[in-house]
Structure formats: C-alpha cells, structure tokens
Symmetry: C2
Subunit: 143 residues, 2 copies
Amino acid sequence: MAALPFALHPQLSHDTTPVGDLALARVLLMNDANYPWLILVPRRAGASEIVDLTDDEQALLMREIAQASRALKAVSACDKLNVAAIGNVVPQLHVHVVARRRDDLAWPKPVWGVAPAKPYEAGARDALMTRLRDALGVMLTQP
Amino acid sequence: MAALPFALHPQLSHDTTPVGDLALARVLLMNDANYPWLILVPRRAGASEIVDLTDDEQALLMREIAQASRALKAVSACDKLNVAAIGNVVPQLHVHVVARRRDDLAWPKPVWGVAPAKPYEAGARDALMTRLRDALGVMLTQP
C-alpha cells in the first residue's frame, strides 16, 4: 500500500512563500515583513505533534530547527530566536522559527495574534529569499 | 578552570515548582492550574538559544521534549501539545511544553499573556506532581 502523500495545509500555503526542502521539512517564509519568520513543515502526512514523528525524524527535525536558526541569525541582526510548535489552529505539524529584535512590533510578546501581517515589498522579499536559500543551502521547492 | 555552575533563573524559580531532573534538563511545573504546563531548563550555564547547546545536547533536548510531551499526554486529556522556546523576557534557555484543551481558557491562542496564573490547590498539585514524576520516571530535584 502506498504511503499517504504529503500535502501542505492550505492555510500554510496561503500565508507563506516556499523557500526549499531540507531532508525532512519543507521550509516556508512567512508573508510578514514585521519579522524574518521561517516555518518548517516535516513532510510526513498526518503528523500533528512532534511525538507523531519517529525518534530519528525528531532528531532530524531538531537539526533542521538549528539549521533554520543559524540561517536566520546569519541574515538578520536578531536579538533572540523564538522556536515553537503550536498548531492549535492549523493541525499539520509545523515549527515556527522567528528572528526577534528588541525593537520589533511585538517585543517582548510572542508574535502570534499581535499585529496583522505586513506584506513584503517584492524586491525585499526576493533579496531575503536569496540570502536565506544561500544560508540554508537549499534550492527552490517545486510545489 | 571549573565550568560555570548552573543556577535556575529567579523568575523561573518563582513561577514554578520543581518536578525533577532528566539527563539534561531540569523539569518544572508552572504554577498555573489553567493548563498542565511543564518547563524544561537545560542545566547549561549561559545557554539562551537552542543553538547555544552542542549538537548532542540538542538531540538530548529533543528526546526530553518528547518525554515531557508523552508524560503530559498520559496525565491529561489534552487535545494538543504546544512546545516553545521563546525567552524574550527570561533569557535562560527554557522550553515550554503545555497540554492544551479545546475548552481551556486561552484556546486557540497560545497561553502567554492571556490570563493571570491560577494557583493550584495544594492537593491537586501534589496529585498531579506524583503522576508526572511517575510518567517521567524522575524523583524530586534537590534545588
């Protein structure tokens, strides 16, 4: 029997732009210029919690969280990283990795629900995307 | 030269009750009866980000997050786990693992800043603590 194919949740697809695929997770850039904000979505159909992954996948997810964290530190002058798997609204397992600055809109609060997303200017997003793909060592995902 | 000794941040000490020590992290129960809420604090002086840990410590932290997640699932009828390393206010690296229910006070929002902490009744906290230590396989921390 074929495994259930992975498909990105429509809400995540709507809110983000694809950066590329790591070994386990699809990396997305949140469409919100208020914060450099990546989302990692392990390509495992039906996973909702970190503990729904196998032990090996959990270890790989941690390595990819670290990889995304280092990439965000490399491309932004951030003061703190926020890493979170919440998923109360979108049940598909996804991990937020957000670069925070003491002068950002929500500081020191977590980012969720604080302010409406601010669209990127096309040029700014493309430039950030290039630097992120470089830092992550990934190419564009074929969605 | 001796390594800097680990000491729990006073704010975490104030807001929580110690559950016990895993191999890497001290496990704390948040003093908030609104949600079964654990906090894992890796006993590494000076760590503020997950990426401040070594690769091996990061892998161990992920295993302990999974262990805390399974313990919370075992002792609560939760609908979702929320796992997060924020640390914008308390810089010492700490990971929240919160058992969420669709009928809890903050649902579907994240828990931070939504409602004042509700003290546990002593009996209820002791009973929960016993079940958590059992599920985690730890004994009381000597603070």
